[in-house]
C-alpha cells in the first residue's frame, strides 16, 4: 500500500506505535499528506453528530420497553383464576359427560368362530332367501 494512503490511519490514531513514528517522519516531507491532514482536521471540527428529536426517542420507548400489553391492564391473579376455572370445567366435562364414546373404527373383533356357527349362519340365510321371511 502506498504510504500516503495510510494518512487516515495516522490521523485517527489507528496505527501501531512503530508505524505511527514512521508515518510522522513521512509527514514532515510529504506536501500531499500535509494537505490531507489539514483537510481532515478541518473536517472533523466541522462535522456534527445530531441527536434524534426527543419525540422519536420517546416513541421508541413507548413502542418497546414502555409498551403496555393487554396483560398489564389485568392483575395477574385474575388471569390465574380464569385459567384454573377453565381447566376445572374442562376436566369436569371430559370425565362426567354422558355422551357415548365413539368406537375406534380401526379395531374390530377377531375372536375365533367355529365351523358349526358358520353352517348355522348359512342355513339361516338360505331360509330367508327361500321363504322371504326374516326369522
Amino acid at each position: 500500500m502506498n504510504i500516503c494512503n495510510k494518512l487516515p490511519l495516522f490521523f485517527y490514531n489507528e496505527m501501531s506505535k512503530e508505524d505511527g513514528e514512521k508515518f510522522r517522519q513521512h509527514l514532515k516531507d510529504c506536501k500531499n499528506c500535509q494537505c490531507s491532514f489539514a483537510m481532515l482536521d478541518f473536517l472533523q471540527n466541522k462535522q456534527e453528530v445530531q441527536s434524534a428529536p426527543l419525540n422519536v426517542i420517546q416513541d421508541i420507548f413507548n413502542k418497546t420497553t414502555r409498551r403496555r400489553f393487554f396483560h398489564a391492564y389485568v392483575k395477574t391473579w385474575k388471569i390465574g383464576f380464569a385459567v384454573a376455572a377453565s381447566l376445572f370445567v374442562g376436566f369436569f366435562v371430559m370425565f362426567y359427560s354422558d355422551e357415548p364414546q365413539i368406537p375406534d373404527t380401526y379395531s374390530y373383533d377377531i375372536s375365533p368362530i367355529s365351523y358349526d356357527d358358520i353352517a348355522q349362519i348359512d342355513m339361516t340365510i338360505s331360509e330367508i332367501e327361500y321363504t322371504g321371511n326374516i326369522i
Binding site: M39, F42, L43, K46, Q47, V49, S51, I60
Partner: protein
Amino acid sequence: MNMKQLKDAQLVVLFKNGDAKAFEELVLRYQAHIYTYILSLTKNPDSASDLTQDLFIKVYKNLSKYNEENKLKNWIFTLARNIVMDHFRKHNKRFIPLENTAEDEFSIINILPDGSPKPLETAIENYKKEMVNSAIGKLSQDEQELIHLKDSFTFQEIADMQKKPIGTLLSKFNRSLKKIRKILSETAPEVCDEYMQ
C-alpha cells in the same frame, strides 16, 4: 447501577435477563450516531426520524436472539443500512441529492435560523459547516457513507462490517478527501484557504 459505565455486551446480558433499562441505555448511547448516519443517507429529517424508530424497534425485537455482543455496534449500523436500503427500494430511490445550497445565491443571513442577530463568528462558523456538509453531499453515496461511518467506527471495524479490504476503504476515503478539497476550492475558496493556513 450506573448503566452508562457498562459496556454494550454487559447491557445486552442485562437485557436478556429482563432489564428493560439496559435497552433504553443502548438507545440513548447510539441514537445520535444512528440518526446522523441515516440522515446522511436519506437527507430527509422526517424519514430519518421514522427509520431511526423502525431500527430500534427491530433491535428490540431481535436483541434477545443476538449472540455476538462484542459486535453490537456493527450489527446496529448494518441493520440501519438495510432499513435505509429497503426504504430506498420501496420509494424507487437510489440516492437523494442534497439540497443545492452551495450553488444557491448565498448570504450569511440565510443561515441564521430565525433571522435574529447572532455574533458574526457564529454565523461564519455555520457557513463553513454548511459548505463542508454541502461538499460531502456531492460525493457518491458510498463515499458519503464512509465519511459518516468514520464518526463511529475505526477503519478496521468498517472493513469487517462491509467485508472489504482495509486498503480499499483507505483509498476510497482519500479519494473522498480530494473530492471535498476540490469542491470546496470551487464553491468556497475562502474555507479552503483557512484550512491550508
